[in-house]
């Protein structure tokens, strides 16, 4: 194996480098309590949400997770992607209420204390915006630019079914209209089957209370469904016989097709993956060993396998999946690789437990055209040039 170990000894120069004693060993560090809520090292201050500086406005907008900077499958709360439609409200939990009404035997009002009294569950699930990324150019330069409206966390709350049983569903109940307590009063209709399956009312994320950007103090979680349906700042659930046909499920979040029709109620996020290292914007500085790693996920369940191609998709090698491989969660994959310095194109594709395989962009566009914004789960290849620079191979 080529590398530093095999090279002739060549000492680096620096006051903090061997054989010198580094300065941070010569005096005590910061005292306990200097940071009551810990933040990352000052040397990591560039690892922040990826927020465009040229948006027309920032009240209904999104900010992306820097996927290429992260390891494992859990997104730190401060880097979790954001999408809001009326800004981030500042809600006093003592004055927040969840109302459950409509086709129920007992319309109820819950305080946050009430919600937390129910038997709780913690589960790890991804959340992804439906428009991640769009189908048309310009395509993003980095993994975050492309699919950074994606994050994964451990969520704690109460199964929605438990709360619905408390009110008693009436015959004919087919949908639940969920409404946020934000300035958009964002409204989406959820099929009752999902509400009775794995839907949760969530108050904590990665062990601490939800951040305001994630719906503090209460949000809906619909594992595998497009992000906007996981209504944040949840204030109302109305059980109905049919959907609300709200603005966010008719004029937005519908998928226009080339023939002029649009698909409605396109809930699931299909299987997808992306290589996060090496990925766009990074540079391989040495020949020799490099680990290829990335993340895969599917709204339809577990990831069964991830394959990697080095030859424009002609042949595929199996990547190793890091445990745990969880339902509707990010799955980390890895493949050892030796880069010999010749230009290369690397790409990953995910296969989920239903047998579905992540398609290419060309295959998607062939069926869906270019008028659609949402549910683009294409393979994204990276090009590595002779200098080691990594760029989007489709840009």
């Amino acid at each position: 194996m080529a590398g530093v170990a095999g090279s002739p000894a060549l000492a680096e120069q620096g006051n903090n480098l061997p054989p010198n004693v580094p300065e941070w060993m010569k005096a005590p560090g910061d005292p306990m309590g200097s940071q009551p809520y810990g933040t990352p090292s000052v040397h990591e201050k560039g690892v922040v949400k990826n927020i465009s500086k040229t948006l027309p406005q920032y009240i209904s907008a999104s900010g992306r997770t820097p996927l290429q900077e992260l390891d494992g499958i859990i997104t730190p709360n401060g880097l979790f992607y954001e999408r809001h439609h009326g800004g981030v409200p500042t809600i006093d939990p003592a004055e927040h209420r969840l109302m459950l009404h409509g086709m129920v035997d007992r319309p109820l009002v819950f305080t946050m204390e009430d919600i937390r009294r129910f038997p709780s569950q913690s589960r790890i699930h991804f959340l992804e915006c439906s428009g991640n990324p769009v189908y048309t150019k310009p395509y993003g330069k980095t993994a975050s630019d492309l699919v950074g409206l994606l994050s994964c966390a451990e969520w704690t709350g109460v199964p929605l079914k438990t709360v619905l049983d408390e009110a008693g569903l009436q015959p004919g109940a087919k949908w639940i209209v969920a409404e946020g307590a934000d300035a958009a009063a964002l409204t989406r209709s959820i099929p009752i089957e999902k509400c009775l399956d794995d839907a949760m009312l969530v108050y904590s994320q990665n062990g601490e209370r939800l951040r305001p950007q994630q719906g503090y103090p209460l949000r809906l979680l619909l594992p595998g469904f497009e992000g906007n349906m996981n209504v944040k700042w949840l204030r109302r659930l109305k059980v109905t016989a049919e959907p609300a046909y709200s603005r966010e499920e008719t004029s937005k979040y519908t998928d226009p097709m080339p023939d002029g029709t649009s698909r409605e109620f396109t809930f699931y996020m299909e299987a997808k993956s992306i290589i996060t290292r090496p990925s766009g914007g990074q540079k391989l500085t040495t020949h020799g060993f490099h680990e290829i790693t990335g993340i895969a996920w599917s709204g339809h369940g577990k990831i069964k396998s991830v394959e990697i191609s080095f030859d424009e998709g002609k042949s595929w090698q199996q990547a190793e999946l890091q445990e745990p491989v969880l339902t509707r969660a990010l799955t980390r994959f890895r493949l050892p690789w030796h880069w010999d310095g010749t230009p290369a194109v690397i790409q990953s594709r995910a296969i989920d437990e239903t047998g579905y395989t992540q398609p290419t962009l060309a295959e998607l566009v062939k069926v869906r055209g270019l008028n659609s914004f949402y549910h683009n789960n294409a393979i994204w290849p990276w090009r590595i040039d002779a200098n080691g620079e990594v760029t989007n191979a489709q840009a």
């Binding site: 009002v109 209209v177 300035a183 109302r236 004029s251 002029g260 698909r263």
Partner: protein, 181 residues
């Protein structure tokens, strides 16, 4: 009724009562009843058939004034768009390579327009317009799109009766529709 069936009916009834009791036991007794007044205050979503539309009415004429004051800064003087979405035009473009999606060309239900304006607009002061002004602005935007006449006055009944041009334009989700080969 033969005796055997009567007995069966009793058994079924007893099981139902037991089930009801069990269900009651399964409940946690968490939360309190929502009062009719509380529900009335928050129950703002409008059905696509216009159900839950409030009393009141508004004219295109009044809507023109409200739009100029409350909406034009973001959506343009004539609804042509700006920082906010384009609201007008685009009919007949949805199957073209450059579709223009507006209230007139894309939205399937006029009741959704009332619902959305009332709950979320204007963006800097949502839920600040009176129901009359929400009817009026809805009427004005629909008239700009040629969906209602310039002298229209909309109320719960007439708004619910509006048929939007793209009413039949939506299909259900056929995915998985794309297969990797």
């Amino acid at each position: 009724m033969p005796r055997r069936n009567l007995k069966a009916a009793f058994v079924v009834g007893a099981i139902a009562m037991l089930a009801a009791a069990a269900q009651a036991d399964d409940r946690y007794g968490i939360g309190r009843p929502a009062t009719p007044a509380e529900i009335a205050g928050w129950n703002i979503d409008i059905g696509r058939d216009g159900s839950n539309l409030p009393p009141g009415s508004g004219s295109v004429e009044r809507g023109r004034t409200v739009f100029a004051e409350q909406c034009a800064a973001c959506h343009g003087d004539n609804g042509q768009g700006g920082v906010g979405d384009r609201l007008v035009g685009g009919q007949g473009t949805l199957a073209s390579p450059k579709p223009i999606r507006t209230v007139g060309s894309y939205w399937p239900y006029a009741s959704t327009l009332f619902d959305y304006i009332r709950r979320a607009m204007p963006q800097n002061a949502p839920q600040s317009l009176s129901n009359e002004d929400v009817y009026a602005v809805s009427a004005y935007i629909l008239s700009l799109n040629g969906v209602v006449p310039a002298n229209a006055v909309l109320d719960a009944k007439s708004l619910a009766a509006v048929k939007m041009p793209n009413r039949e334009g939506f299909v259900s989700d056929p995915r998985p529709d794309v297969h990797n080969h």
